[in-house]
Symmetry: C2
Amino acid sequence: MLKIAIDAVGGDYYPQNPVKGAIMVLEEREDIHIILLGPEELVQNEIAKQGYSGDRLTVVNAPEIIGMDESPSVALKTKKHSSIAIGLTMHAQGKCDAFFSAGNTGALLGASMFILGKIEGVLRPTIGSIYPSIEGNKLMLDVGANIDVKPEALVQFGIMGKVFVENILGIKNPKLGLMNIGEEEEKGREAVRQAYAMLRERDDFVGNIEGRDVMKAKADVYICDGFVGNLLLKLGESIPENILEIIRRSERAKTLSKEELGLIKSVMLDALAPFDYQLIGGVPFLGINGVSMVGHGGSTPLAIKNSILSAEKIVLKKVNEQIKAALN
Amino acid sequence: MLKIAIDAVGGDYYPQNPVKGAIMVLEEREDIHIILLGPEELVQNEIAKQGYSGDRLTVVNAPEIIGMDESPSVALKTKKHSSIAIGLTMHAQGKCDAFFSAGNTGALLGASMFILGKIEGVLRPTIGSIYPSIEGNKLMLDVGANIDVKPEALVQFGIMGKVFVENILGIKNPKLGLMNIGEEEEKGREAVRQAYAMLRERDDFVGNIEGRDVMKAKADVYICDGFVGNLLLKLGESIPENILEIIRRSERAKTLSKEELGLIKSVMLDALAPFDYQLIGGVPFLGINGVSMVGHGGSTPLAIKNSILSAEKIVLKKVNEQIKAALN
C-alpha cells in the first residue's frame, strides 16, 4: 500500500485543511496510507475533531513548525524537528513514497535538495504551476525556485515539464513553448535566445510564446525563469477576483439588477474555477530525487486531496525514472 | 496653434484609422493643426473619402512605408523617406510639436533616438503602457524597449513614469512600485534588488509589487524591465478575450440561455474596455528629447484621437522639462 506523508502544519489553514484533505482521500480510497506530521497533540486533536478512526492514518510527531514567511535557510538550520525535515527524512529512508506540504516553499525546496538530492543529470530542480487556458490546464515552469537560469537548465525545465504533463495532466504529445516577447528567435534575453537555439532542434518545440498566448493554449509546457514565471502565475491567479471587482465598479454594473449581477458573478466563478489556486493541487519539485510536492499556502482540503492523488500518480507512473531517461 | 504630425501609414489599419483619428480631433477641436505623413496620393484619397475639407490638415509626402514586422535597423537604413523618418526630422526642426505613429515600435524608437536624441541625464529612454486596475489606469514601464536594464535606469523609469501619470493620467501624488516576486527587499534578480535599495529612500516608493497586486492598484507606476513588462502587458491585454472564451466553453455556459450569455458578454466587454488596447491611446517614449508617441498596431480611430490629445497635453504641460528637473 502506498504511503504518502503530509505536512499537517503547512499552509495558511493548518491543521484543519491538511487533516481534512487527508481524510477525504482515506474516505475515497482504500489503498492509500497517510502519515500526518506535526506536533502530535495538535494533529491528534484535529483528527478526533474531524472524526476519522480508521487504521490507514498514522501521526508522526514533528514538534517544530516552520512559518510561511520564515527564512528558509534559518528555519532549516534551527528547526531540525520540523514536519518538513522529518517528513523528507522518512521519505529518504523509504518509510514513505512521497511528501506533500502546503507550507513554506523555499524551506521545502531547500530541504528536498539537501535531504533527497537531485536526479542524476539535472542542473536545477524546478517548481512549476498549473496554468489554465481555453483548452484546459497547462504547466508553466519555473515559477519561483530559479531566478537566474542558464539556457541548458531552461531546456531541462521543458523536458521535465513534458514528462509531468504527459503523465499527470494526461496531455498526449505535449508541445513546449518558450516565454518570450516576440515570435522571432532573436527576441529576448541572452539566456532565452540560447535556449531557443537548443530547443529549435526538437519536434515538440513550437517556438516563442508571448504573454497574450498563454491562455490561448499555444503550448502545453511554458518554459521561463522563476522571476518571469512567478509574476505571470500570480497575475493569472489574481484574474477572477480582480475582474469581478472591475465589473462591480463599472458604470455598466449600475444599470444591472441584483439578480443579473449575481448571475454574472456566479458564472464567472464557475468558469474560472480552474484559475482558483485554492482548488488546484500541488506540483512536485521536478528534478528532485524523490517525490516532494508543494501546494499553495491557501490550499483548500480539496486541493490537498488533489495533491495527494497527484503524488500517487507520480509514484505509480515512475515520473522520476522517466525524467532521467528523457534527459539522457 | 499646436501642430501634431501623424504617421498616416502606421499600424494595422492604415491609412483609414490614422486619417479618421486625425479628423475626429479636428472636428472636436479648433486649436490643433494636424500634419499627416505618408504617400501623398494614398493619404489625399483617404482624406477625400472621409470628407474633411478644413484648413487645419496638411499632408506631407513620405513615399516609403515601414512594415510592422520589418527589422527596425534595416528599415531605418534603407527607407530615408518613410513617414517616421520625415515626421521626426520635421519635429527636430521645430516644424511640428509632436509625432505619433501606430506603426513599427522598434523603428520609431530607433529613429527617435537617432533624430531627436535623449533628454540630458537619461540613461535609457523607455516605453510604458497603460495598465488597467480596479482603481483605473496605471502605468507600467518598460514594456519592451529595454530588455536588460541597470538598476539606475530602473529608478529613472520610475521617475519619468511618475511625471507622466501625474500630468497625463491626472493621478495626484503617484506611488512607485517595483515588480518583483515577493514583498521582501532581498527578493528577485540582482538589478531589481539594487533598484530597491535606491528606491527605498524615496517617500513615493511603496515597495515590491507582486503579479497578483498589479490589478489591485497597489501603485500608480509599475517599474520593470522590458522583458517582464512586455509579458505582463500582453497577458493583461489578452484577458477579456480569453476569459470570455473560457466562460463560453465552460460546463456552466451550457446551462445558460442565449440572453444570459449575451448579457454576460456585453457586461464584461463594457467593464473590461479599459483593457482593450484598441481603445487605449499611445504612450510617449519617455526620455526622448521631443514628443514621440507610439500606439498599438491595432489602434482604432478613437485610440488615435486619444493619442493625439495626449500628445497635446505632453507638449502643453512641458513633460520633458519636468522629467529633466525630476532627474536632477
